[in-house]
C-alpha cells in the first residue's frame, strides 16, 4: 500500500512569491493534516482538512491557506513568502473524521525562501 506522497520534494522561491505544495493521502484516508518543521523546532500544526472542509487551524497567519479536493488530496498555499517560511512542510493523513485517529506522515516538501 502506497503511503502519503508529497510534491515537489524541494522548492526554492524568493521573498514575496507564492508557494504551492501538494499532498496525496493514503488510499481510503479522508483527513489531511499539514505541519511545518522549521530548523531546530518541533512540528507545528498548520491545518486539518476533512471531507473538503477546513476543520482546524494552527497559529499561523492567513497567508497560509489550503484546500482539499474531492479525491481527498490537498494543497497548501503560502502567499507573500518570508525568509522564516523556510522549513520542511509535512503532510499527514488519517482514516476517519474525528480528528483523533493515528496520523501517517509523508516525506515532506523542503521549502527554501531566498
Amino acid at each position: 500500500e502506497a503511503g502519503v506522497t508529497q510534491s515537489p520534494t524541494h522548492l526554492i522561491k524568493t521573498r514575496g512569491q507564492q508557494a504551492t505544495l501538494r499532498c496525496s493521502p493514503i488510499s481510503g484516508h479522508t483527513s489531511v493534516y499539514w505541519y511545518q518543521q522549521a530548523l531546530g523546532l518541533g512540528l507545528q500544526f498548520l491545518l486539518w482538512y476533512d471531507e473538503g472542509e477546513e476543520r482546524n487551524r494552527g497559529n499561523f497567519p492567513p497567508r497560509f491557506s489550503g484546500r482539499q479536493f474531492p479525491n481527498y488530496s490537498s494543497e497548501l498555499n503560502v502567499n507573500a513568502l518570508e525568509l522564516e517560511d523556510s522549513a520542511l512542510y509535512l503532510c499527514a493523513s488519517s482514516l476517519g473524521s474525528g480528528g483523533q485517529e493515528t496520523q501517517y506522515f509523508g516525506p515532506g516538501t523542503r521549502l527554501l525562501v531566498l
Binding site: 505541519y35 523546532l41 500544526f45 486539518w48 480528528g99 483523533q100 496520523q103 516525506p107
Partner: protein
C-alpha cells in the same frame, strides 16, 4: 513555556546500550501520547501510541506515561545502529478546539555507534 519540552540532544550511545528518551508537558488535557521516529530526509513514522498513564511494550521499545508528573519516556533496549534517528514525542487532547492537532517536542537526535 512551550507545551511540550524535549531535550534535543544529541545523544550518542554504543550498540547494545539501553536508551532513555523523555518529554515533559504542561497541558493536563493531553491524554494520548505518541513517539515517532524520523530518519534523515524522511517523514516521521509512528513507533508507539499510548492512552493515559501506564506502560506499553513493543519488542525492544517501551513507552511510559506518568500523567501525575506530566512526563513521558521511551526506552530502547539492545539499541542498534539502525535505531539512529530523531525521536519525536507527540501528544493530543480530546478537546474540540484542539481536535486534529498533535503537539510535538523538538525531537532528540540519537546516534548508536557499532
Amino acid at each position: 513555556q512551550k507545551e511540550v519540552e524535549q531535550d534535543p540532544g544529541p545523544l550518542s550511545v554504543p550498540e547494545g546500550a539501553i536508551v532513555s528518551l523523555n518529554c515533559t508537558y504542561s497541558n493536563s488535557a493531553f491524554q494520548y501520547f505518541m513517539w515517532y521516529r524520523q530518519y534523515s530526509r524522511k517523514g516521521p513514522e509512528l513507533l508507539m501510541y499510548t492512552y493515559s498513564s501506564g506502560n506499553k511494550e513493543d519488542g525492544r521499545f517501551t513507552a511510559q506515561v506518568d500523567k501525575s508528573s506530566k512526563y513521558i519516556s521511551l526506552f530502547i533496549r539492545d539499541s542498534q545502529p539502525s535505531d539512529s534517528a530523531t525521536y519525536l514525542c507527540a501528544m493530543r487532547s480530546n478537546r474540540g478546539s484542539t481536535l486534529g492537532r498533535l503537539y510535538f517536542g523538538r525531537g532528540t537526535q540519537l546516534t548508536v555507534w557499532p
